[in-house]
């Protein structure tokens, strides 16, 4: 029996990370109907923020304060990922409003860029990028206004960006001659975050062994869930978000600034991805490809949970997490040794992490035959429900 509890506990911890990661995705999907393929990369940014915060604490801050670095990293990761998400919404997603499939492809492009950025960013690279952005933004202000009302203005516009991009590349490669500037910040290798000592032990409840790091993740998820629920149910902006989710054009007519609501929701959703990234660092080493490991699971959560209620997301995420862990770790056999022989062989066949995904996906497809719109579908009378 204790074994069952322990397995459930571990599954719950894995599921909690999934809740954190999928929460933002589901809220944004419910509101705007877009799937953000770069969501996993926003998680990765959160993880790398944790890494940076840890290094800063090691180098600068007195050692006594080191144990609390993770508490500093959580809000910082939220801010970093949230701001990158906000930038993404303002520059890309807003232009593609009403074209969800194109948004999917565009955000995939962003995810590729973010992955390679983390791999190859060095001081020279960052300065070159800075030069490019500053140049591209400044040229329209420094040139005569009449230039920007001509028929060749589009060529000038793209030309100014290409030009400042070339200058940026030159700056980066000149600076790159110096070793100091050429050193990549993270490189393509995985990074390890050392958990503070108070997260390294474990607590025994009865005979059940619970690692503190996993307890911390569960607690973090609970806090985030309560926060998001409170925000959506009680705060003014939360109520606006729910209104736009239910009926965008009517909300617009009633004076709700839907563009601001979109931006805010995207910021919060991305920020939550960053917090999930902090949680992931506690489970093992992380690398630039971190996003790919979680993103498809997150999509499955959105499909299974439906977009009507937060409860759907939570239930779906915990369900997928616990089930994958139960099957994948093979602990179903340990928990229930007297299993009939046929079932026994079947379960053993699926008892690896990757094969567990096969089974869980098959179960999801079967479930969708019964409830095509997920656990908690949005109710409405539209043809395209």
């Amino acid at each position: 029996m204790d074994l069952l509890y322990e397995t459930l506990f571990n599954g719950l911890a894995i599921g909690s990370v999934l809740v954190l990661a999928a929460l933002g995705l589901a809220v944004v999907f419910g509101l705007m109907g877009v799937i953000n393929m770069a969501h996993g990369e926003l998680m990765m940014l959160g993880a790398y923020t944790t890494f940076v915060v840890q290094n800063i604490f090691k180098a600068v801050v007195p050692e006594v304060l080191f144990p609390i670095y993770i508490l500093v990293a959580i809000p910082l990761a939220f801010v970093v990922s949230g701001l990158v998400g906000l930038l993404l919404e303002k520059t890309v997603i807003r232009r593609l409003y009403g074209r969800p499939l194109e948004t999917l492809l565009a955000t995939w492009g962003v995810s590729l860029i973010l992955q390679q950025f983390v791999r190859s960013v060095s001081s020279a690279f960052a300065l070159g990028l800075l030069v490019t952005v500053v140049g591209g933004l400044l040229i329209p202000r420094l040139t005569p206004k009449s230039w920007w009302q001509q028929r060749w203005t589009p060529i000038l516009g793209s030309g100014s960006w290409i030009g400042s991009g070339l200058v940026g590349i030159v700056v980066a490669s000149v600076l790159g001659q110096q070793r100091v500037f050429d050193q990549p910040w993270f490189s393509a290798r995985n990074i390890d975050v050392t958990a503070p000592t108070w997260l390294r032990g474990s607590i025994d409840v009865g005979a059940v062994n619970m690692p503190t790091a996993r307890l911390f993740i569960i607690a973090l998820t609970a806090v985030a869930l309560i926060g998001v629920t409170w925000f959506l149910q009680k705060s003014v902006w939360g109520i606006r978000i729910r209104a736009v989710t239910q009926n965008r054009s009517m909300s617009n007519c009633l004076g709700i600034p839907t563009e601001k609501v979109d931006a805010l929701t995207f910021l919060i959703g991305s920020g939550l991805a960053g917090v999930a990234g902090v949680a992931v660092t506690l489970l093992g080493s992380v690398g630039p490809n971190l996003g790919g490991n979680y993103i498809v699971d997150c999509f499955m959560v959105v499909v299974l949970g439906g977009v009507g209620k937060l409860a759907g997301t939570v239930l779906a995420a915990l369900g997928i997490g616990v089930l994958s862990y139960l099957i994948g770790s093979g602990s179903l056999l340990l928990v229930w040794p007297a299993m009939p022989a046929g079932l026994n062989e079947l379960i053993t066949f699926f008892a690896t992490t990757s094969m567990a995904k096969v089974l869980v996906f098959a179960l999801i497809v079967v479930f969708l035959q019964v409830r095509p719109a997920g656990l908690f579908p949005q109710k409405g009378r539209m043809v395209e429900a």
């Binding site: 860029i113 060749w152 060529i155 497809v365």
Partner: protein, 395 residues
């Protein structure tokens, strides 16, 4: 000149024949001119054009974005790979890798692949059946749009995990090598065989193009476009979109299978990497860059992007992901109809007009090139494409 029948040299006929003459000339000349390595690359990329054609059918014409074509691509590749593995052996032998995992007898599902006839059909029938089944289960519940995309992606990941994890059945992550195998007694990896395969590829690309053209013109094609633009209305008119979608998804799956088989014999190996998630999304971008909704665009896009990829990856491997990501962004924001669509809508003319050179106009230049008229025209075009886009995409 007067002796020629005038219908043969009329510019309309010439336009119709010229592309074919170019293709035939290229197919004859290129194998002689190009070094074997480049010819092999061209053959591979041409075979990728077939899977792109399938994606164009389901995405460009029917509006369903599948991120899982890699499944069918790899299934076709594995079907041919398994046959080649068995064909090379003496009777009673097992493929070498089975020894590593202690497998004593050939798994049952390998047995039919002893037969070349079965394999010939398996290459395209098995992927088409799998696609049809998966499609039916999804479409009958009216799951579509983004849901469909992410479900296909999840299915892809599941197939990848399965093939990657099953060493004892299919050699897992190592895949099946084909370049050391023999086909009709000739080494698959040899230059002569690769040249033959190039010609087979050219013929099959042309065949696939004709198939797709046949499907997209006429009633069936109209129904597909109707599904893309307004599915509920088609349903209310008494059609059954599920049947159309299932059929077209199965056709795209079959095309992907053929493409995968050709790609396998020309690259020398089939491995679960064919089902990697990024590869399948890459396929979509070939179609997007070339021009979705235009068949020739799919093939050109596949050729263009893959050559660019192989050139850039040779020179500056680090920048390829940046360029690819930028392409995704550029093509959906600035070139929604791809290069071929841009060309057909008079894009080059507009570009020339921007730098001030005279533009050919349909009516009087004074009227056609009036900035006010142009502004109205572009506004009108934008509205048109916007409403089309939202209908095609929003679910």
């Amino acid at each position: 000149m007067a002796d020629f029948p005038s219908s043969l040299v009329s510019s309309r006929n010439l336009r119709r024949i010229l592309p074919w003459l170019v293709i035939v000339a290229a197919a004859v000349v290129l194998p002689v001119v190009l070094p074997p390595f480049r010819l092999n690359l061209l053959g591979r990329f041409l075979s990728l054009g077939i899977v792109a054609l399938g994606i164009d059918l389901i995405w460009g014409y029917t509006g369903m974005l599948s991120l899982g074509q890699g499944i069918f691509f790899a299934l076709g590749g594995y079907a041919l790979g398994m046959y080649l593995q068995l064909d090379t052996l003496e009777p009673g032998q097992l493929p070498e890798f089975f020894g590593l995992y202690g497998v004593k007898s050939l798994p049952a599902f390998w047995q039919p692949f002893n037969s070349p006839v079965f394999t010939f059909f398996a290459i395209w029938v098995i992927p088409a059946l799998v696609a049809g089944l998966l499609g039916y289960l999804v479409f009958r519940n009216r799951i579509k749009g983004v849901y469909f995309s992410i479900l296909t992606q999840a299915a892809l990941l599941v197939f990848f995990n399965f093939f990657n994890g099953q060493q004892k059945l299919i050699n897992g992550t190592n895949g099946l090598k084909t370049d050391t195998a023999h086909i009709f007694g000739v080494l698959v990896g040899s230059d002569g065989m690769q040249r033959n395969l190039f010609w087979v590829t050219v013929l099959l690309v042309i065949g696939a193009w004709f198939l797709c053209r046949w499907l997209t013109t006429g009633r069936f094609g109209d129904a597909l476009v109707a599904i893309r633009d307004d599915e509920p209305r088609l349903r209310f008119t008494g059609y059954n979109p599920t049947a159309y979608k299932t059929v077209v998804f199965a056709v795209a799956g079959g095309l992907a299978g053929i493409s995968g088989a050709l790609y396998t014999v020309q690259s020398g190996i089939v491995s679960p990497q064919f089902m990697a998630v990024p590869f399948s999304i890459e396929m979509v971008i070939w179609v997007a860059v070339g021009g979705r909704g235009t068949l020739i665009g799919a093939i050109l896009g596949a050729l263009l992007i893959n050559f660019a990829k192989s050139l850039i990856s040779e020179q500056l491997p680090e920048t390829w992901l940046f360029i690819q990501g930028g392409l995704f962004l550029l093509v959906v924001t600035a070139l929604p109809d791809g290069l071929v669509g841009w060309w057909r809508q008079g894009g080059p003319g507009r570009l020339i007009a921007m730098v001030g050179l005279p533009q050919r106009s349909l009516t009087y230049p004074a009227l056609d090139l009036d900035p006010e008229v142009q502004a109205e025209q572009s506004q009108f075009d934008a509205q048109g494409s916007e409403s089309q886009g939202s209908k095609g995409g929003a679910q």
